[in-house]
Amino acid sequence: MSPLGEPLSRVDGKLKVTGSAKYSAEFEIPQLAYAVMVQSTIPSGRIARMDTSAAERIPGVVAVLKPGNALELPGAERRVSVLQDDLVHYDRQPVAVVVAETLEQAHHAASMVRVEYAKADAKLNFDAGFPTSYPGSHNGIPGDLSFGDVDAGLRQAEITIDQVYTTPIQHHNPMEPHATIAKWDGDHLSIHDATQHISGVQETLAKMFAIPKENVHVTCLFVGGGFGCKGQVWSHVILAALAAKQTNRPVKLVLERPQMFGPVGARPRTHQKLTLGATRDGKLTAIRHEVHANTSEIEDYLESSAFPTRVMYSCPNVATIHRLVPLNLGTPTYMRAPGVATGTYAVEVAMDELAYELEMDPLQLRLINYTDVDPHTKVPFSEKNLRGCYSRAADRFGWSKRSHGPQTMREGKLAIGWGMATETYPGKNLPAAALVRLQPDGTAVVASGTQEIGNGIYTVMTEVAADTLKMSPRLFTAVLGDTNLPPAPISAGSMTTASVGPAVREAALRLRSQLIAIASRDAQSPLHGADESDVELQDGKMFLRSAPGRSDNFKSLLARHGNRPVEASAQVKPGVNENQYSVHSFGAVFAEVAVDPDVRMVRVQRVVAVFDVGKVLNEKLGRSQFIGGIVWGISLALFEDTHVDWRNGRIINANLADYLVPVNRDIGEIDVSTLDIPDTKLDSLGARGIGEIGITGTGAAVANAVFHATGKRVRDLPITPDKLL
């Protein structure tokens, strides 16, 4: 049996650890040709001349596509760089594609393409762009939102904190780079793509090539990490399809690691001005959170850093403001906990600064400003038990043994610091569809056009279907990642489980009803004439609650009905009425750092976090998501930083040796747990999604711990040793 929440191991775990899970670049296709992108080396201007003759002479080269000879795409837009014009909007923009018989030939030829540019002035000064910055929105939610009267609130304040916090550009860098294989069959296009959104790829390609959506078939069985950068359809996907069409060959295009830095999104740089006003006893009277974040010259993406500020604390006067600063860089995009990761860093450090000003325990300050209603809409949260998170996390961490002053805790020679923060992430979901099919041999299939991005959705689908039909999870095969399946939304925003789970539940419930109805109509069945409400399922059998002796099993039922499978599907839009409830997850995170007093290297020794995320459908998968998120939070605080040469907009650490993410040795003990209280207002599963909340707050908790250890407040991430000297 499969009681939901049990730590069932990943059903695809064995495939993955044995290397037999097939990722999108790994499909063998006869006649395959290899494509390599050539990228710009200037941030702004025009291609004055491109000499491809040497490249074309390289043996094995099939074609060199460039503006001028590339197919015209009826649906092309400025936001993608698909060789439709000679304009350059950012460094590392694709400007040509070499197609060859082998990857090596394609690489060699790509290195022989000579491009001359006519440079234009580039916008690369972030701060200088503030005066001409402009408002934006994030997923349709306006960037500017205020309630109460912040100026009045600040006048009432006895203490104010007014600081600027900055976070750098970051790049996602999943282990699997972006990869696309495209193959045309007349006007039918099949695509293997590393994507978080197969239907998005389908729609975009249909539009680009002006063919019906049904003509585009997209598959993606596994994604080797996405973190947001595989949510959109970037230039290379379209270029692969274009190259395949133009060369009349199936074409594979895999990005190299340095190519991940530019044309496929990034977390933008933020400059966040936080003003907090409070009374002496710690009541917030005003919060003003003003964000400047960069976007590109070709498309707007808003890093919504002030969004969490709208829901975190009880404060009558709040202003949240966002401004976009367009630069000649690749377009930024969603990156794990978009907006919330960077925003909670700023707000939660500001709260820490306020606590020290008040000489108050930072946890106490959070409790004083606790809210059970959404401070903006004034509607209650669907389910919020953050107090429980605070107290359990504080207990597990040993917070009561903290000494308040900075630089007061030591361990041998090392300075020890403790810090904490609140975590939060919106609970979201989108309509999704699924089907469940019982096979005559007693096994079953559960299917949905969703994506496995490491989130464990193969396992979740299996568990939910097995739990609903009271069958062993081992009898199920989960199928996903194919546009021929019932459609599901993008795998992002921590919504996959919360969207696909309920669809599977509903499809399985319908299948259950169908099976009972068949039995009830079947004169040969012991359940003949049974009423559905009297039937229970167990171990592949149905029996009457009123007469447990009367039972029938699925296999014999189907045998008597022509050995045909029985199938049910469902499309559901889970969720609550927003006028009634506000849906957010919360958590509390505590961190301990040890800092070398001389040379100032920082190590995070311990993180304790407790989450309130609704029902956790699989404890084991959940833990991985939380731990991964916390590692990202540590990375935000101490390591990640895309260095741009601001003279020419070229990223200078475009590789994994120089773009730092933590190594094992940087990560200490991580203790995560959940309250596991189902959000019953949402749907029958009561799960709010867990993929991103771990990164929120963690950056601040680490930064606050560094302050506690050193007495130094670094407000410019990442906190590297040089900034602490």
Binding site: L638, V663, P721
Partner: protein, 329 residues
């Protein structure tokens, strides 16, 4: 990557002959640096002479109490060899603080000596300027993002650093580099092996074209008991040094009878602080002595926009490394 000829040789004489015959050729050892640079288009050899089968992987004791490290011994085998651990723990720690286990398993001692700078303007042909890669094109780093760059011995042409950890310890241990060339064998002291950029930043070392490193010879050392390699970096492993310090002391009770102090991450070569060594020698170990040595050591540092911190960081690093080496930290 550009296509290239490949040839494998079994002995040193044949390898030296081959490299002389084949135009634009290079030796291939572990390949952990060379192959990366070929992929980036920074190195474009027409031919590679694979030297991995040359019988130069031994680590053996020398009659004078020193140790010979074969040029093709892997970094991990070198660091874990009992002779090295016992006689030159400074070297073992320096090697183990570099790169990652996977890289050290491939990287050879000879290749480590000759690894090239990690300056991003050198590593990426997308940048037009780099005097080291393309002499006369200018230096991208002087006015660019130079957080990792040199503060000693720079020139108008180049401010790159030598990135090796191993070489910093070798400099403290006064290693001798044994070389076989078309004219036979010669020995270069480590202090003269790497050079400052001056007007010819394209040459990292005094090795002549076609010469093969056969071994690194370490003289007998009095520093086995009191030495420390401190590496200050942005993460705790798999990352080059912001600043590193090799400190080695010979003690008579509390008195320093001789000292070696070398910095990494601050110059185009391991940066030995001989004046600071003199200050230490003959004196009792004390905080202010270490501070005075550090102060003297950092005299003459010239910083750039993003690497000003290196002076303070190195000052603190020197004090800490001396303290740990002397057992008084």
């Amino acid at each position: 990557m550009q296509p290239f000829k490949y040839r494998r040789e079994e002995n040193s004489a044949a390898a030296v002959a081959a490299i002389g015959q084949l135009e634009h050729s290079k030796f291939l050892a572990g390949g952990t640096n060379l192959i990366d640079l070929m992929k980036n288009g920074v190195e474009r050899p027409a031919a590679l002479v694979d030297i991995n089968r040359l019988p130069l992987a031994k680590i053996e004791a020398l009659p004078d109490g020193g140790v010979r490290l074969g040029a093709l011994a892997r970094n991990s085998d070198t660091a874990n060899h009992p002779l090295v651990r016992e006689r030159y723990p400074l070297l073992a720690y320096a090697i183990l603080s570099g790169a990652s286990p996977q890289l050290r398993n491939l990287a050879t001692n000879g290749g480590n000596l000759l690894q090239r700078t990690r300056c991003p303007y050198f590593m990426d042909t997308g940048f037009a300027q780099c005097n080291k890669r393309d002499p006369g094109s200018g230096c991208g780093a002087i006015e660019g993002f130079n957080r990792m760059h040199a503060i000693f011995g720079t020139s108008e042409q180049c401010i790159a650093t030598h990135p090796s950890d191993m070489c910093v310890a070798l400099a403290a241990l006064e290693a001798r580099i044994v070389i076989m060339g078309p004219q036979g064998e010669r020995i270069i002291p480590i202090a003269e092996f790497h050079r400052l950029p001056g007007d010819t930043p394209q040459s990292d070392t005094t090795l002549r074209p076609g010469e093969l490193i056969t071994s690194i010879d370490l003289p007998k050392s009095p520093y086995a008991r009191h030495s420390h390699y401190l590496k200050i970096r942005d993460r705790s492993s798999y990352e080059f040094a912001l600043v590193s310090v090799a400190a080695a002391l010979e003690l008579d009770g509390d008195t320093i009878t001789s000292a070696r102090l070398v910095l990494g991450g601050v110059a185009h070569k391991p940066w030995r602080l001989e004046q600071a060594e003199k200050i230490l020698t003959g004196n009792k170990m004390e905080r202010h002595l270490f501070a005075a040595a550090a102060h003297t050591g950092m005299e003459g540092a010239k910083t750039f926009r993003y690497n000003r911190y290196k002076v303070e960081m190195a000052t603190r690093g020197i004090r800490q490394a001396l303290g740990v080496a002397g057992g008084v930290a």
